[in-house]
Amino acid sequence: MLLQITDLSVEFTTMQDRIEALHHVSLSIDEGEIVGIVGESGSGKSVTALSILGLLEKNAVIKSGRILYRGTDILRLDKKELQALRGKEIGMVFQEPMTALHPTMRVGDQLAEVIARHRQLSRKEAYAQAVKSLEEVHIREPEIVARKYPFELSGGMRQRVVISLAMAAPPQLLICDEPTTALDVTIQHEILKLMKELSVKRGTAIMLITHDLGVVAELCDRVAVMYAGEIVETGRTAEVLQNPGHPYTRALIGALPDLADPAEPLHAIGGELPDLRSRPEGCIFAARCASVIPPCREVRPQLQPVRPDQGHEHQVSCWVR
């Protein structure tokens, strides 16, 4: 087990309220595995990523839980240890590539600097490595691109550079928060292919945060569906997408337009996200659920195997079976 999150709850304090952004979240990632966390805005998927990276805002409090990375609890590390871990073991890629790049430094120099730091190479060797790593992320004419500044590159190129920066160490775990959301579909497709390729080649595990089920289907071995700060369903991607067990997952899939049958009206989810200042007693999705039954509003369901006879991987927190 590379990363194991157990029972993680995170609370934000704003000026007047407390908002529980994560509620008893448990999730694990194996070495080399690609796990998707999918959810809409307010689901807590980004908060999960930021907790692992130790990048939560100051007004966030970890109320319970552990995040074990190869047996060490990340939540107990001090600032320095965390930083070392982030640079070396855990890489990150965010939605907006410009936030990760130095705006006035040539791409090749930025890469070389990181590579030199991690592999104890001379400037020159590191620069040669940098050009090589640009080639690895399928940048054509890497020598020319290495001499450019980030603003001279397109969004897709920038994201490739960021990925190559994040992979420089190379890390054991790459956390990607909406890495392709700002990109065009054709480029998104290529970046996803690239991530998969790098993961297989280097044995890097990837945690992919996204709102897009399509991206999950494309890339991930396993998926966790989050809603309002809770994981409501988890399992093999194909299994979850083909036989979704939770009404929310079903609704999410139903809300996607169908290319084969455009006449079919989309299944929208009625209502709005619940007020996270006070969680309801029962199931978090009950208020918007189409198949709600009496216990849903009273007792909170736990993640349970959908078909215990067929293994424990596909789990769902729902009373309706």
């Binding site: 579909v185 897009d212 289907a217 079903r250 996607l256 989810i269």
Partner: protein, 265 residues
Amino acid sequence: MKPLIELKGVHKYYGKGKQRIAAVRDVTFQIEAGETFGLIGESGSGKSTLGKMLIGLEPPSEGEVRYAEKALWKGQSFHRPRPGEIQIVFQDPQSSLDPRMRVKEIILEPLRALPRLERLEKGGEERLHALIRRVGLKEEHLSRYPHEFSGGQRQRIAIARALITDPAFVILDEPTSALDVSVQAQVLNLLKELKQERNLTYLFISHNMSVIRYMCERMAVMCKGEVVETGTADEIFRTPSHPYTQTLLASLPSIFRDKRVEANV
């Protein structure tokens, strides 16, 4: 039948001399009354620029833009057909509603450009209430401010604002791109229903193939300022002829390509 919208040899350049960039190159297509016409393209393809030409925000550099057989642009000046005849819904409901106005003022704003009598008639309390309910909001929301609403609700307000003048033609510029999928589904369904009820003609601009597929009867594919393919959505999705369209379709995540109806809710 004469088309409602006609674009003929439309160009748009920015900059001068060597710096000149063509944002739109030689675009020609027509939109029939009563249809939803999709315009798909990636960022920088010029699709939004075309939308702006139709609504009067950007003059074309060359070519003709006609609405109901009348030229919309004479040189740099825009000739509005009838105030409120053409309306637009923008992508970002965060910025398209004035944060300092109440919902009621926002929705009624387009009426200010109308003659007094028509303004009074269309701005009547009853009509306003019916409209706000129709787009899925409540009367009590009228006295609130935009920041009190979610993205989907704000987009509903923007739709109500576009419909208050009883337009014939509505430009939808990426109306659901900023929304979550479940909310996107609500808004798309609403737009489809409203079109039926009010006999609207839509220009639906989007970068999202599956959304275009769901909404449109006919469509044009744009790439780097040019229209590379025009046709019915059925044709284009079944047998894309231009390589760019083929790439676009191939880039769609597989979940869209073989999504089964078994995901019934």
